[in-house]
């Protein structure tokens, strides 16, 4: 089988539609992951163990099981519990929830990266706990986390094909459908690969530029 330009051209509009869904899901998922991750982090650091321990277990569980299976559960089991969300919403929530466990780790290491001396100085000044977080710790912990957070946004972008199992017609579902209809996978799948690269490369570049700005240049080895 050789590359068929005509077919590739014909499928492009549908694939671009799929790409739209993919991008939208990624953006919405990222927004959820950013907020929820911070919530998880703070809950995990709570001094009340009935909050911190269940959160820790929950986060660890979500983090170590496949998104695919979580999507199945959200899609087919939640409605039985009376929660009816659209397939797209389910996918976005699944992505956001899954990646929140990662961003939570990022925030955590950002917070741990703040030198102990900062906590001690804040205590020596008797600053109230909320103030310690908002004016001392988070302003120092969040900026260094931005590149890692950006990387997860890219990773999420590439996970969206898994939404195919819950009937969201994102990029890969469209390609599979086209392939199954026309029995040609080569063109749609290749186009997807290129589209992914076209989106992820500039994003990765941006993230690295940020990283370079935040972490002063290393040196020759």
């Amino acid at each position: 089988m050789t590359w068929d330009w005509g077919y590739a051209w014909e499928t492009l509009p549908q694939l671009l539609d799929g790409l739209g869904v993919t991008v939208l899901a990624t953006l919405a998922g990222t927004a959820i992951a950013l907020v929820l991750g911070l919530v998880f982090t703070v809950m995990r650091r709570s001094s009340a163990r009935w909050i911190s321990i269940p959160t820790e277990i929950f986060v660890e569980f979500i983090r170590s099981t496949p998104l695919l299976v979580q999507l199945f559960v959200l899609f087919f089991v939640l409605p039985e519990a009376g929660i009816q969300l659209s397939a797209f919403m389910t996918g976005v929530i699944g992505l956001g929830l899954h990646y929140a466990t990662y961003t939570s780790e990022v925030y955590r290491s950002g917070i741990e990266g703040v030198p102990a001396g900062q906590w001690e100085a804040a205590k020596a000044l008797n600053l109230p706990t909320r103030r310690v977080w908002t004016s001392v710790i988070l302003p120092q912990a969040v900026p260094p986390s931005i590149p890692a957070l950006g990387n997860y946004a890219i990773a999420m972008f590439k996970e969206t094909p898994q939404l195919t199992v819950i009937t969201v017609m994102e990029l890969l579902s469209v390609a599979r459908q086209l392939g199954a209809e026309n029995y040609r996978y080569l063109e749609p799948v290749t186009i997807i690969g290129v589209l992914f690269l076209l989106l992820s490369l500039p994003t990765a570049w941006l993230v690295r530029r940020m990283e370079r700005r935040l972490v002063p240049a290393p040196r020759p080895v």
């Binding site: 170590s64 496949p66 695919l68 590439k158 390609a175 080569l186 690269l197 490369l201 990765a204 080895v221």
Partner: protein, 229 residues
């Protein structure tokens, strides 16, 4: 559940393990090759390393899998789905691993390299004797995370004919019609696998940390026991 269906699950579990371990080993090779390449003073070597990382981080493992299984045969060679799976996952995870390797190398304090210069080590001796042994200790925790990523990532393999754990789950689901318990079982099985992998990585971490005379960072269990500063 019948013994046969159980056998499917077991086989799926083994396939998942095989995929994970195979891709981890191969991915580790890619990681080090590309990671060290990006720290090379030679611009060509550095360029090749960077290209590999950007390309394979940018394409999802699923797309790679599709390519290897359904497109590559037209270019004249065909991989067993299992090998295609291992290769695709390894290429993908290797690109992430390369970033970890690079990060580990860059994080070794400059002072260590200066000390090695003061002792007149050659460039490659510096890398081999001083930088890498220290860098590896830093790489282990992120490598542990990548291993879990990989484990979960294998679940996409079922889409290209590789009968992994998720696939086995689908078979059982179709045979018994019982979606909820199959999904629950899958979640638990993956979590158990993840815990096993994490434990192994932490043991290695502990060993390496000890060989540097360091305290390893507290793990999950230590964390939920609530040891806080």
């Amino acid at each position: 559940m019948s013994p046969q269906l159980f056998a499917y699950l077991l086989e799926g579990l083994l396939t998942t393990l095989q995929l994970t371990v195979g891709a981890a080993v191969l991915g580790l090779v890619f990681s080090f090759a590309a990671g060290i390449a990006t720290c090379s003073p030679n611009i060509v070597v550095r360029g090749v390393g960077r290209c590999y990382i950007e390309l394979f981080r940018g394409i999802s493992a699923l797309v790679l899998l599709f390519w290897f299984v359904f497109a590559l045969p037209y270019a004249g060679w065909q991989l067993e789905p299992m090998w295609a799976g291992i290769l695709a996952l390894a290429l993908n995870i290797g690109a992430y691993g390369a970033e970890v390797v690079r990060g580990g190398i860059v994080a070794v304090p400059v002072a260590q390299i200066e000390a090695a210069v003061a002792l007149n080590f050659t460039r490659s001796q510096r890398m081999r004797l001083v930088v890498l042994p220290q860098a590896i200790a830093r790489m282990l925790p992120p490598f542990g995370n990548l291993l879990i990523e990989l484990l979960k990532g294998t679940s996409v393999a079922y889409i290209v004919l590789i009968p992994d754990l998720t696939f086995a789950g689908q078979i059982v689901r179709n045979a018994t019609g019982d979606s909820a318990s199959v999904f629950t079982a899958l979640l638990i099985l993956y979590a158990v696998l993840a815990v096993i992998f994490t434990t192994i990585v932490r043991l290695v971490e502990r060993r390496v940390a000890k060989s540097l005379g360091r305290q390893p960072t507290p793990g999950f269990f230590a964390r939920i026991k609530g040891v806080k500063a």
